[in-house]
């Protein structure tokens, strides 16, 4: 446990040691503002809620999370520090978990900095803050899911660009897996049950369920299972590929 905390602190500090963190946070805040006010018609809707804010989160994350995740292992591999890290007395799981949690924590900080949005809507009206809290939680879980995908992909390669593009593609597939775009591809040759299973993997539908204020165990479990599965895969990939 101590090792996880030590590694976690090192990782989190690394984000803020370079301009990366600040660039990410600024872009995240600016984009989420633009989406909410211009595309989401926050004012015109005349409703005291943050739907127009949260509805764009999957799309925002789709690009920004792979950008955060791409460096997590690819960088370690490229600079050779992976050899240092894994010959220190730490287990693979401690390393994978600590690095993931640090990245997730970083995204949580960026998300928390959107609090003026919440202040604004409370100033203008009286929204259901329970729903807003649930939506924030859902958003964080969704970010965690995307992040786990990206981190796993990052373990495959030395190149951050490749990690970004593949991470983005996979995240996109998981976002769209409830839509005809993806489902039609499977429908022709897979049994209906499997197609339904693919549809149920959609990030979008689980997030939308939570952001409506229904904190269903099924949806939470979906994101947690997704995180665990991708991190498990990540550990296997690192173990397999660390020699090259």
């Amino acid at each position: 446990m101590n090792n996880v905390i030590t590694l976690f602190k090192r990782e989190l500090r690394a984000y803020f040691a370079t301009p990366l963190a600040y660039v990410f946070i600024v872009i995240f805040l600016v984009l989420s503002g633009i989406f909410t006010f211009y595309l989401g018609n926050f004012y015109e809707r005349n409703q005291a809620d943050l739907d127009s804010f949260f509805i764009f989160h999957p799309w925002l994350y789709l690009f920004l999370i792979p950008a955060i995740a791409m460096r997590v292992w690819a960088d370690e591999r490229k600079s050779g520090t992976i050899e240092l890290l894994l010959t220190l007395p730490v287990t693979m799981w401690q390393a994978v978990l600590a690095k993931y949690l640090a990245a997730w924590c970083f995204v949580a900080i960026a998300l928390a900095l959107t609090f003026p949005m919440w202040l604004t809507v409370n100033y203008l009206g009286s929204p259901d803050n329970g729903i807003i809290l649930a939506a924030y939680l859902g958003s964080l879980l969704m970010a965690g899911g995307y992040l786990a995908i990206g981190v796993c992909v990052s373990a495959f390669t030395k190149s951050q660009v490749i990690a970004f593009i593949i991470g983005l593609t996979l995240c996109f597939l998981f976002t769209m897996s409830g839509f005809p775009l993806v489902l039609d591809f499977f429908r022709g040759w897979l049994p209906g049950g499997v197609v339904d299973a693919v549809a149920s993997l959609s990030v979008l539908s689980h997030f939308q369920a939570i952001s409506r204020g229904v904190l269903n165990l099924r949806d939470v479990a979906y994101f947690l299972a997704m995180i665990v599965a991708w991190l498990y895969a990540c550990a296997i990939v690192i173990d397999m590929k660390k020699a090259d």
């Binding site: 101590n2 090792n3 030590t6 590694l7 090192r10 500090r13 690394a14 040691a17 370079t18 600079s79 050779g80 520090t81 050899e83 240092l84 894994l86 010959t87 220190l88 007395p89 730490v90 287990t91 173990d239 660390k242 020699a243 090259d244």
Partner: protein, 308 residues
């Protein structure tokens, strides 16, 4: 004690390390020699638990690196090839991080920290980011990281690669200083280094162990072991005369017209016989010395066939 047992690594079709076995005891500084791609780094990566062997294993002070990796890793300090470090951290932060991971605490931690920083002369770069350091300093930070917890087993992959002669000298002194009570394994392709710091050398090529002995024993394999080099005006005449001595195997021309090198037959001492001839002929000899052997020649000899 490092016990390496039948260690093998296969990358696809290629057998990088082939059933390597050896042991290293306390007080030994083992030089790991071999041409590029011989399997030196791969072997070190397996001993330190970075990559898993295809077969065989290594034990560090009794801890099997595969069955008890954490205990084995605690016994070891390791400087990976290229001395990687986290570029975004300052030297101080980096060493603090290593101390945390090594669970060092209290007075001992502070003491070791000060000692290592002083020994390796890192005072002036302590608050500089590792990314901004010169190659020499980076390597030193890597060494500092490896010895911070005062490990009983120290494994270093090319510790002096890329250093200037002064820095090389310093790192070698450091290794010398630690050698008494530790087990040290260094890999290198710099042969002078083996003579300078190692008490034992292992030569591998294509993953096979080809030679194992003290640097002196290795040099004794050289054709030039015990050879005598002379510098005198009538070198041609001298070469003919000395070539007839029963102890002499051959006479080679040296770098200049006036220099010749006389090679001994196996197990024969040359100096006395040559001295007698010089006396009889009343030659004026400007230079006369006996060679210990040429490690580079032995190295080429041993690895030549395998590397071709």
């Amino acid at each position: 004690m490092i016990e390496v047992e039948q260690l093998s690594k296969r990358f696809g079709e290629r057998l990088a390390v082939d059933a390597l076995s050896f042991t290293v005891g306390p007080g030994e500084v083992l030089g790991f020699l071999g041409p590029n791609g011989a399997g030196k780094s791969t072997t070190m990566k397996m001993i330190t638990g970075f990559i898993r062997p295809s077969a065989g294993t290594a034990r560090i002070n009794g801890y099997d690196i595969q069955a008890a990796p954490l205990a084995a890793k605690r016994e070891m300090g390791y400087l990976p090839e290229g001395a990687p470090g986290y570029g975004d951290m300052s030297v101080r932060q980096f060493l603090d991080f290593i101390a945390d991971i090594r669970a060092m605490s209290g007075a001992w931690r502070k003491e070791r920290m000060d000692e290592v920083i002083q020994e390796i002369h890192l005072e002036q770069v302590l608050d500089q980011k590792i990314d901004t350091l010169s190659k020499g300093f980076r390597r030193r930070v890597g060494v500092a990281q490896a010895i911070l917890h005062d490990p009983r087993v120290l494994i270093m992959d090319e510790p002096t690669d890329g250093l200037d002669p002064n820095q090389k000298h310093e790192v070698r002194n450091l290794i010398h200083g630690m050698a008494k009570d530790k087990i040290i394994v260094i890999s290198t392709h710099i042969l002078e280094e083996v003579e300078a710091v190692c008490s034992r050398a292992i030569v591998i090529a294509r993953g096979h162990l080809l030679a194992d002995g003290t640097p002196e024993e290795l040099m004794a394999r050289s054709r030039y072991h015990g050879a005598v080099t002379l510098d005198l005006d009538n070198a041609r005449e001298a070469a003919d005369l000395l070539g007839q001595l029963p102890e002499v195997a051959a006479v080679e021309d040296g770098d200049t017209d006036t220099e010749i090198t006389v090679l001994p037959r196996e197990g024969q001492a040359l100096m006395a016989a040559i001295g007698r001839v010089i006396d009889q002929q009343r030659w004026t000899v400007r230079e006369l010395y006996q060679q210990k052997g040429r490690l580079d020649e032995v190295f080429r000899d041993i690895t030549g066939g395998a590397a071709a």
